[in-house]
């Protein structure tokens, strides 16, 4: 392809946007609406996941040792646990630390009356997991380790979080599939209407001897531009909306801030921008490419 033909194709793609303004606006609105819903949904899901992940990070397993177990064996057990792939962090809590923590949390100044440590056998490892669904497997392993007396865990927290995680995954996939299907259907319809108006133009090009590539290229450039604009506009809306909603929630429900931590707009957009623009351009490309193709057999 000559350079002049390449630039001609690009120029025609740009001009096509203005030749049929109604079609351009309808297409941008369709893609924009679908990607707005997609972006909104992505932001919500990302925050849900973030909250669940934060909650997961707080779920731990406590490992207690046989009475009188040597320090060297405790150290060995600690090393073995730390090497497990599902373990994200491990902390040793000595009997003294356990008692201090208990006193502070439940007894306050009344704890000073104790002369001996009632939790003398309560030195433990506090083990954090990077995936709560692995908790049962880890507990089974820990219970089989020589020198381990008891393993405590929160079954309810683990199963609840695992369930929530699975639910979010299923709902995400379901909604994304529905959104994409609706987008493709709407865009295909919009492009079909737009192209049928220009069917005559395509026919003329073909009669004169234009190749399929030459006929299709301006339409594809146009489709990709529409996709790009259709993706950029909702991104702008979501950016503004997200910041407004976030500051509103933090301000209005400040007591939630200690329980719930939200993802920053930058983190959301780090993924959302390339994905949305890619989807917009991709949908525009596919929509125009396949629809023009139907009219090329002249």
């Amino acid at each position: 392809m000559r350079i002049s033909s390449f630039f001609y194709t690009l120029r025609q793609g740009f001009r096509n946007l203005f030749r049929n303004k109604l079609f351009t606006l309808a297409s941008i609105a369709t893609i924009g609406a679908c990607l707005f819903l997609f972006g909104l949904f992505y932001a919500i899901v990302t925050n849900f996941e973030h909250i669940v992940r934060t909650a997961e990070e707080g779920v731990s397993v406590w490992v207690f040792f046989d009475e009188g177990l040597e320090d060297i064996r405790i150290q060995q057990i600690g090393d073995m646990i730390a090497k497990r792939p599902e373990v994200s962090d491990i902390n040793f809590v000595s009997a003294e630390e356990a008692w201090e923590g208990f006193k502070e949390e439940y007894l306050g100044e009344y704890g000073d009356g104790f002369t001996e440590n009632p939790l003398e056998n309560s030195a433990n490892y506090q083990v954090y997991l990077n995936d709560v669904s692995m908790q049962t497997a880890l507990v089974t392993y820990l219970e089989s380790v020589d020198g381990v007396r008891q393993v405590n865990r929160s079954e309810l927290a683990a199963t609840t979080l695992t369930g929530v995680n699975a639910l979010i995954a299923y709902v995400s996939v379901g909604i994304i599939v529905i959104l994409l299907a609706v987008s493709i259907f709407l865009i295909s319809n919009t492009v079909t209407i737009g192209i049928s108006v220009r069917k005559e133009e395509i026919n003329i090009m073909k009669y004169i001897g234009a190749t399929d590539f030459f006929v299709r290229s301006p339409f594809v450039v146009e489709g990709m531009l529409i996709g790009l604009i259709g993706a950029a506009i909702p991104l702008g809306f979501i950016y503004t909306l997200y910041n407004i909603v976030l500051s509103y929630v933090m301000e209005r429900f400040s007591m939630l801030s200690s329980l719930l931590s939200f993802v920053t707009v930058e983190e959301v957009f780090h993924v959302l921008v390339p994905v949305s623009l890619g989807l917009g351009v991709g949908i525009g490309f596919l929509g125009s490419f396949t629809t023009v193709r139907k009219h090329l057999r002249v």
Binding site: R2, K206, A210, T211, D212, R297
Partner: protein, 243 residues
């Protein structure tokens, strides 16, 4: 427009369009063409006449390779159109100029762009386009209207733009499908004179028409179709009435 040099050739070489026992049937209804045999030589001027439904448009569509034949053999400029691959059709059509009754101009582009468009398709450089378009517009008498949009032109002027577009790539064959169908007698004659001039410069011209007056006056070869069959093929012929 550059004139074409006509090379010395044998009789077989001179034959530029060959239809042998061509039949075309649509999936619905009666066959549009039945056992058509037609031979047109390089540089000829041929009228294809006949009433509505006689098969004229089908014949043009076959020559353009917009349709494929049902049976028989069709060869245009050395291309066997029953076997030509889809990707080779553009190259084949670049040697054809086509003019329609309804002009078929790109309405959103001006005269210059409509004509330049045909050159862009064959990937001519901007420099060549800038040189060729004004020169072809001068030939069809529209040098001063290159900025006008089609709707700002009369029917005759629009047909001249269509002619300029058809001629700018110096086609071997010019197909004109009812070129005067939407024109008044004065403009019709002017277009026919242009076509005659183009033919004199070496281009094979095939004109499908209903215009009895023009056919009778011009004294060219006339092929008459009736219900899909060639009923007459005369050198310096005239329009044969249906009855």
């Amino acid at each position: 427009m550059a004139t074409k040099k006509r090379k010395k050739s044998t009789a077989a070489d001179k034959e530029i369009i060959t239809l042998t026992n061509v039949c075309k049937a649509y999936s619905t209804g009666a066959p549009a063409l039945k056992d058509v045999n037609l031979h047109i030589s390089r540089g000829e001027f041929v009228f294809i006449v006949g009433d509505s439904g006689s098969g004229k448009s089908t014949l043009i569509k076959l020559l353009l390779r917009e349709l494929t034949i049902t049976s028989g053999y069709i060869n245009v400029m050395g291309y066997d159109l029953s076997k030509i691959k889809h990707r080779k059709i553009p190259k084949f059509r670049r040697n054809l100029g086509i003019v329609f009754q309804d002009f078929r101009l790109l309405k959103d582009r001006n005269v210059y762009d409509n004509v330049a468009f045909a050159q862009r398709i064959i990937q001519k450089s901007n420099k060549e386009i800038k040189k060729n378009v004004p020169s072809i517009l001068a030939i069809v008498g529209l040098a001063g209207k290159y900025k006008a949009k089609p709707k700002q032109l009369s029917g005759g002027e629009q047909q001249r733009v269509a002619l300029a577009r058809a001629l700018i790539n110096q086609p071997t064959i010019l197909l004109a499908d009812e070129p005067t169908g939407n024109l008044d007698p004065k403009n019709s004659w002017e277009i026919m004179k242009l076509l005659e001039q183009i033919n004199e410069n070496g281009t094979t011209v095939i004109v499908v028409t209903h215009n009895r007056e023009i056919v009778n006056a011009m004294q060219k070869r006339v092929v008459t179709l009736k219900r899909g069959v060639i009923v007459s093929d005369e050198e310096k012929g005239g329009y044969i009435d249906e009855d």
